[in-house]
């Protein structure tokens, strides 16, 4: 039986975890510990007051989003309320006013100001004899420390040598991006899973990664030699010579394989019998753009825009949005870029008024955008301005549509903003394509009616699967029921294809299913030749698509569509 830790005679340790991002690396370990808050008590220079005020606002925003994400994963009422209380603390108006006062009037650094203000509250609480006070103080300290951490992190330099293997208990998406700047060769975390945001980022940046190893941080010492096997989910600490030899040759094989894939990248995207297809990239950060080129993606099939808010930029700041979109378009010239409108989850990103029992069935995507018109208009103005500068290249994708009225309303907004822009003499792309995400089953069921209203469909199989099979994919009790290649999902996709062909509109898939090479064969067989995925997945998908004929793929699709159980589908795919 496999245990979490294997210990061999030669003194090497093998830790088993979850393979989160493929690839193998050998390197020196760098143990990353979340920096303990370091407080700078020296008075700051008056010229940096504004910077410190901004750091405070940024830190609050980052932590609010972190808490909201955490909240989405929690199911217990009590923990939800604790998180709610912490969100209230982060947004506390008195806290804001007092911290800013310390910075502005007393020239305190942002960290010192946060510490001072929190400590005065903690001091007051400590005078109470109430038993629950203890609990409150821990909550406060937690928020205080994270605020200081985040405020400090932005200016923090790490001492990571290129090629290092970073080992951490847990890391945030922001930290993955930070590490990638140091050219690390792999990532190992003790917590986290395959679908955690950090793992998604590691995959899309091509950094081999193993997560959920539980005890690496305890067992490893900085600068020990480490092998990370992101294909098998193994971490080998202090490997012996035999093991090293084995992995060196695996890396060589990998390089040969990569070389082959690189050759594939430059070859045309056509099936064995000459049907052309398009493989595009799903991205969220500009840091991923080099990969778009490296893996030969034909533009961006899904540009997520939520991070504009999460990262330092103000989402409300239209100029910064325009810069972001423009950078993506500049670096993908002349390929198309599909920008998905802000797809906030069912939590209260912008309003403090909503409390939802069931956020996945709640106020998210276009539902939220139509209520928060200013936000929608701001984003549309930015997108449409950029579209006018790069005519024919920008497409707009509307998330979480469930009824036709939503499409009509968004289109009306788009046309009216284009009108305003033209009046101001700003060029627009009058034939800009407007599409919708197909992720709510009602859209697939009514595909024909929707197809009459839009220029393209983009099928988001992750949510479509969740909603169709009524399975929360984060719920371990039912994770086996979460099957993207379920016959019911395939049938819904097929319905969309039929409607798209009838109304002569575009159809693409941007869900994870597109990155499974065999599933991709089936999608092309069904008539979807426009697939978007994490850039690193492109070569392997392309390789399989190039070595099969359209006819074979159609045959496969027919078989899958006529099966009735997941087992049958898996069987067909396994024996391919």
């Amino acid at each position: 039986m496999q245990t979490d830790v294997e210990n061999s005679a030669s003194g090497e340790f093998i830790l088993n975890g979850v393979a989160a991002s493929s690839g193998i690396a050998i390197g020196k370990g760098y143990i990353y510990r979340k920096p303990k808050p370091v407080i700078n008590e020296d008075p700051i220079d008056p010229s940096s007051i504004n910077k410190h005020l901004e750091l405070f606002d940024d830190a609050r925003r980052v932590i609010e989003v972190e808490l909201l994400r955490l909240k989405r994963k929690e199911v217990e009422d009590v923990s939800l309320q604790v998180i709610d209380a912490q969100i209230e603390m982060v947004n506390d108006p008195e806290l804001e006013q007092q911290v800013k006062h310390h910075i502005k009037e007393q020239n305190h650094s942002v960290d010192y100001a946060i510490k001072q203000v929190f400590d005065s509250y903690l001091q007051m609480l400590s005078q109470s004899n109430n038993k629950i006070t203890q609990e409150r103080m821990i909550d406060l300290e937690d928020v205080r420390d994270r605020l200081i951490q985040v405020a400090n992190n932005y200016s923090m330099e790490l001492d990571i040598e290129p090629g290092s293997i970073v080992i951490a208990e847990n890391i945030s998406p922001r930290e993955v991006i930070q590490f990638s700047d140091y050219n690390i060769s792999a990532l190992v975390t003790d917590h986290g899973g395959q679908t955690s945001h950090a793992s998604i980022l590691a995959r899309s940046m091509g950094i081999p990664s193993v997560v959920g190893t539980k005890r690496t941080c305890q067992l490893v010492e900085s600068s020990s030699q480490i092998i990370v096997d992101g294909n098998e989910g193994k971490v080998i600490i202090d490997p012996d010579e035999l093991q090293l030899e084995k992995y060196r040759s695996k890396i060589k094989d990998q390089q040969v394989e990569e070389e082959k894939l690189r050759r594939i990248i430059s070859e045309p995207s056509v099936t064995e019998d000459g049907t052309s297809f398009e493989l595009r990239a799903n991205i969220e950060f500009v840091e991923e753009l080099p990969n778009v080129q490296k893996y030969g993606a034909n533009g961006i099939g899904l540009l997520r825009t939520e991070s504009i808010y999460i990262r330092k930029e103000h989402f409300e700041d239209q100029e910064k949005q325009i810069d972001f979109y423009s950078e993506v378009l500049d670096k993908t010239n002349p390929a198309p870029v599909t920008i998905r409108l802000f797809d906030a989850g069912g939590d209260k990103f912008f309003s403090m008024n909503s409390d939802e029992n069931n956020p996945f069935l709640g106020w998210r995507g276009i539902r939220m955008l139509l209520d928060e018109r200013d936000l929608l208009r701001e984003q549309l103005r930015a997108v449409l301005t950029v579209a006018g500068r790069y005519p024919g290249r920008v497409k707009i994708l509307v998330p979480m549509v469930s009824v036709i009225e939503e499409v009509l309303e968004v289109k009306e907004e788009i046309f009216s903003i284009q009108g305003q822009l033209m009046q101001q003499g700003i060029p627009v792309d009058e034939s800009i394509q407007i599409g919708i995400m197909v992720e709510v089953p009602s859209v697939a069921v009514q595909a024909e009616a929707f197809a009459k209203q839009v220029d393209f469909f983009s099928i988001g199989t992750n949510d479509l699967t969740q909603y169709t099979l009524a399975v929360d994919r984060g719920n371990e009790l039912i994770s086996e029921l979460y099957q993207e290649v379920h016959p019911a999902i395939m049938e819904l996709i097929h319905d969309c294809v039929v409607a798209a062909e009838k109304e002569d509109i575009g159809i693409a898939v941007c869900g994870e299913i597109a990155s499974y090479p065999k599933a991709a064969l089936c999608l092309v067989g069904m008539g979807i030749t426009d697939l978007s995925m994490s850039p690193v997945s492109i070569p392997k998908v392309k390789k399989l698509l190039k070595t099969h004929s359209r006819e074979e793929m159609e045959e496969l699709a027919r078989k899958i569509l006529s099966s009735s159980t997941t087992a049958e589908v898996s069987n067909i795919l396994t024996n391919l």
Binding site: V82, M89, P93, I132, R136, D139, L140
Partner: protein, 107 residues
Amino acid sequence: MDTLGNNSDLGLSKIISNLMIREKVQIVNEAGLHARPAASLVKIASKYESDFFIHMHGYRVNGKSILGVMTLAAEKGVELELEVDGPDEEEAFKAITELIEDGFGEE
């Protein structure tokens, strides 16, 4: 002059008292006003435009500040004086007192 001055003072305080609500309310839930009830209180109060302050044992804290409300450490049986002032003070006061008197929905 004296009378006039007194009179105008009286008039002013009358106007002030007309312009805001000040009422007492008792904490009834077993655990008192700890973190989670404080969060619900602040969340409700923040929905309204009116300013909201809580007076207790000579302290006055901003009722829209969870940190302030928590430092009161108000236990069961404690009497709070609520001060609500603004265009929607009636509705705000009603919503806030209902929440407190309902024991924040806790046992």
